[in-house]
């Protein structure tokens, strides 16, 4: 966690040195208010207020932006309208605006959410707080440095099927469905954001892959054609043991992947098998003779 990041309140929402509302109240002298309103607001016109964290690695605070509200909007629409009118340089990531790319992750009222899939009319009334994912270092405003995740991805040994001529692989639908659940992942990294092992202990980042990559391992482990055995790698270098199954990751996953039940718990069972039960381990080795040994896989990730 960088120093610049405000601490969350117990309720999970951001506090900041000053909220926009407070600044406006204090700022009767009129110098540099941090609250933006469009022209003279009409009496009855319904409005929406976004309380957005603005800043960079050196610090920042929450700023209120109020706009007329529009029917059916998602939070990302409001951010776009703010950019087009009140704050052209407000930084946020997005690509698809359809919940498919996982770019627009942020925390809305303290909860990790996709801005493009969160409808304004489904949030409680009052200002909507939009803050960056707090586990990753701030780049600017709502944009964080998620490179940690890309580094972990580089450490995952590649998929390794037995050789076959094009079109000769056979897999049953039921068998591919297990892996397909995990391959729905849009890499929004919100599960990584919410996992306390990463969030609360900067040091863990070196030895902990996090839920997004546990499902990647699970997917490879359950792939009907994969020949690698990654269990030792998972235990030793990916820190599977540090996860204490709080299920926070599953709760935030926009793809509704059952990260803990379907990936982490089965992986933990397999790893336990691999390290403590020599008989089961031997049995597996014989049954899965075509798999590379865990030491091999750990030594030569491909």
């Amino acid at each position: 966690m960088t120093d610049a990041m405000p601490e969350p309140t117990p309720a999970g929402a951001w506090t900041a040195t000053t909220t926009g509302a407070e600044v406006a109240a204090l700022d009767d002298a009129g110098a540099g208010p941090r609250t933006f309103e469009p022209g003279p607001a009409e009496e009855e016109e319904p409005t929406v207020t976004l309380r957005v964290w603005r800043g960079d690695p050196s610090g920042g605070d929450l700023v209120d932006y109020t706009l007329p509200s529009e029917e059916g909007e998602v939070v990302l629409d409001v951010v776009h309208r703010i950019q087009a009118t009140l704050a052209p340089d407000l930084a946020c990531r997005w690509n698809c605006k359809a919940g498919k790319c996982g770019s627009c992750s942020s925390e809305i009222n303290g909860k990790p959410s996709l801005m493009c899939m969160t409808r304004v009319d489904e949030l409680p009334e009052g200002p909507i707080t939009v803050t960056p994912m707090r586990t990753f270092p701030i780049l600017r405003d709502l944009v964080t440095d998620v490179s940690f995740n890309y580094e972990v991805a580089r450490r995952v040994p590649a998929f390794a099927p037995p050789p076959a001529a094009p079109g000769d692989y056979r897999m049953q639908q039921v068998d591919v469905e297990r892996g397909q659940e995990f391959r729905k992942c849009i890499e929004c990294f919100m599960c990584q954001d919410v996992c306390h092992v990463i969030r609360d202990h900067e040091d863990n980042k070196r030895q902990y892959a996090g839920p997004r990559f546990f499902i990647r391992y699970a997917e490879l482990e359950m792939h009907p054609l994969d020949t690698n055995d990654r269990r030792e790698l998972l235990r030793q270098r990916m820190g599977l043991g540090l996860c204490n199954i709080t299920k926070c990751c599953t709760e935030v996953c926009p793809e509704h992947i059952k990260i803990t039940d379907n990936a982490i718990i089965p992986l933990k069972e397999r790893v336990v098998d691999a390290s403590y039960d020599p008989v089961a381990w031997l049995g597996r080795k014989i049954l899965r003779r075509h798999k590379r040994s865990p030491e091999e896989a750990a030594a030569h990730p491909r």
Binding site: G72, D89, K97, G99, K100, L139, A153, F159, P166, V176
Partner: protein, 604 residues
């Protein structure tokens, strides 16, 4: 020279969608030092949104299928404006490219005997689209991304390329751009450059495309002196969401119709039966009974008109709405709820189910969707050699949506993902061959670099100018209203004037704040591409005085057989760089060999 960092590679690939990833994997596998550059984070490119599937004549569901039929469908769909050689290579190589993805870890949906299953899509004679539910693009991009990462390709994410660089002889030798997070300048020196920058959709108000689709590659190719072709051919997908406004344009996959959904007007009539064109009459069902029976039995029934090629369906919807038979929010109805069970719908179309539930509050298993045309795909693009994907300027290659020729006047659904794989690989190989024939990447010319950076940074130096968002907004409405799905000469002329005015406005726009992750500035650097591309689209549309595929002229409603033998080629002849006039002229299509011509003439 302005401050910047410099990187040297044999091959740089600009764009990390399906085409760019596949090209980079190929160059790296050939042992060349390879860089992959993209505007967003890796794995977020527009390809991730593709839903329905990848077309390949594997014959897993219909053994009668083969490359010849796929070739024929592609040419017919493209109204014969396609590069026949690209369509042939594509049809021949697509199955191997799909199987290759499987060997790299992709998990496609299966047939009961464990093969990759295939689904029906518009314009394809047989069920031909390999898919993963309705998130095929995600599977494709993730598989390629993981392959690229395990191949140790250097990836430059959130790095926007502004212009290509060239050496004294005019050979492309690198590119200059900036890191979005810091705004700092980057120069690449390379022996060969592959453009894989995707689409142009952001030139229009209603589009299914992501923000990255600003036509940068199309524009950079023009600025580098390369030819582009068929720029008038823009595909409007018939089924985009129309309500709420916030999601207007978002795609509703053709898979809905492939899986049984039917289009209806406000009177409940399945109006597509009224719009079957002569060219497709023989193979299209003319009664609802036959159309519905076709889903189960393709051999004894003709296909439903709901699955005519996209240009036909988009125009039909447009006409229904114009005739006052549209839905409350200006579209038509797409009904699968009354035709398939809720379980079937949720299993086959999970993302569609969620998209409507979460964004429109509509349960598609219980009620009809409202849909209307949305700007979806750019058929036109960089003119390339079919074998190597080489552009007409040495050192430059192009693949995927930025390349032209493969799809003619209209692309069939599913033919893009396969295009990315087939020609991404070929571009990677073509660029590698070229790079191997070159000693060193020449050093970047400081005066070129300085000029590009000065241009890009200019808006920071101006005060009180216009905001780039306003200019973008006006550009989009100009293209939407004057160069949209139905075009006419006078409106196209008007559009050219307006584009000229918009260009003058960009010369005066200003941006406040710093260079680090500043979206206003990022947009300001996208605007020159969008203006160049919009101009080329409009010029092409004016020149093609006929209606063909995605290009419809109200003042020339019929196809003209003579124009069907021509490509309109555009090129900057006088000088390189932004702002120079773009010359346009017709060039004959190359002669198709007799054995391929016969395939087109066969009834089936």
């Amino acid at each position: 020279m302005a401050e910047h960092e410099t990187h040297r590679y044999d091959v740089i690939v600009i764009g990390a969608g399906g085409a760019g990833l596949r090209a980079a994997i190929e160059a790296k596998a050939r042992g060349l030092s390879t860089a992959l550059v993209c505007k967003s984070l890796l794995g977020k490119a527009h390809t991730v949104m593709a839903e329905g599937g990848v077309a390949a004549a594997m014959g897993n569901v219909y053994p009668e299928d083969n490359w010849q039929v796929h070739f024929r469908d592609t040419m017919r769909g493209g109204k014969y404006l396609n590069s026949w050689r690209m369509a042939q290579l594509h049809a021949q190589e697509a199955p191997d490219r799909v199987y290759e993805l499987e060997a790299w870890g992709a998990l496609f949906d299966r047939t009961s005997d464990g093969r990759i299953t295939q689904r029906d899509f518009g314009g394809h004679r047989y069920a031909r689209l390999a898919h993963v539910g309705d998130r095929t693009g995600l599977e494709l991009i993730r598989t390629l991304q993981q392959k690229a990462v395990s191949s140790d390709i250097d990836v430059f994410m959130e790095c926007k390329i502004l212009r290509l660089l060239h050496d004294d002889s005019g050979t492309v030798s690198g590119a200059v751009g900036y890191w979005r997070p810091s705004g700092e300048a980057v120069v690449f020196e390379a022996k060969a450059v592959v453009l894989a920058t995707g689409s142009i959709g952001r030139c229009y108000t209603y589009t299914s495309n992501s923000w990255e689709s600003t036509g940068d590659g199309h524009a950079m190719a023009l600025w580098a002196g390369a030819d582009v072709i068929e720029m008038e051919c823009v595909q409007f997908h018939p089924t985009g969401m129309v309500w709420p406004l916030s999601v207007r344009g978002l795609l509703v996959t053709e898979g809905v119709r492939g899986d049984g959904g039917a289009l209806k007007n406000s009177e409940g009539r399945r109006f597509m039966f009224d719009y079957i064109p002569e060219m497709f009459r023989e193979e299209t069902a003319d009664t609802e009974e036959e159309a519905d029976a076709w889903y189960e039995d393709h051999a004894n029934n003709r296909r439903t008109p709901d699955l005519l090629p996209r240009d036909e369906v988009a125009r039909a919807i447009n006409s229904e709405v114009k005739a006052g038979r549209g839905s409350p929010h200006g579209g038509v109805f797409l009904d699968i709820a009354s035709r398939r069970s809720p379980e079937y719908i949720r299993r086959r179309l999970p993302s569609m189910y969620h998209q409507f539930m979460e964004l429109a509050g509509v349960d598609i298993t219980a009620e009809a969707m409202e849909v209307g045309p949305t700007c979806h795909y750019m058929m036109g693009g960089v003119r390339v050699d079919p074998e190597s994907q080489a552009a007409t300027v040495p050192g430059l290659f192009a693949a995927g949506e930025v390349a032209g020729g493969m799809h003619g006047a209209n692309r069939l659904g599913g033919n893009s993902l396969s295009d990315l794989l087939v020609f991404g690989r070929r571009a990677g190989a073509g660029a590698s061959d070229f790079a191997e024939g070159r000693d060193q990447p020449p050093s970047a010319d400081p005066s070129q670099v300085d000029a590009v950076l000065a241009d890009a940074l200019a808006p920071f130096g101006r005060d009180g100018g216009e905001n780039p968002y306003d200019i973008h907004h006006d550009l989009q409405s100009t293209m939407q209203s004057l160069v949209g799905i139905i075009r006419t000469g006078s409106e196209l002329e008007e559009a050219l004037d307006k584009l000229g005015e918009l260009r003058e406005r960009t010369a005066k726009m200003s941006v406040a704040g710093g260079r680090a992750y500043n979206p206003a500035w990022n947009l300001a650097t996208d605007l020159p591409s969008m203006l160049t591309v919009s101009t080329a689209i409009t010029q092409g549309a004016l020149a093609r005085k006929e209606s063909r595929g995605g290009h419809t002229r109200d003042d020339f409603p019929a196809p003209d057989p003579e124009l069907g033998k021509l490509n309109f080629v555009q090129r900057q002849t006088s000088e390189r760089g932004d702002g120079a006039p773009i010359h346009i002229g017709p060039e004959p299509l190359s002669e198709m060999p007799a054995e391929l011509r016969e395939l087109l003439e066969e009834g089936h």
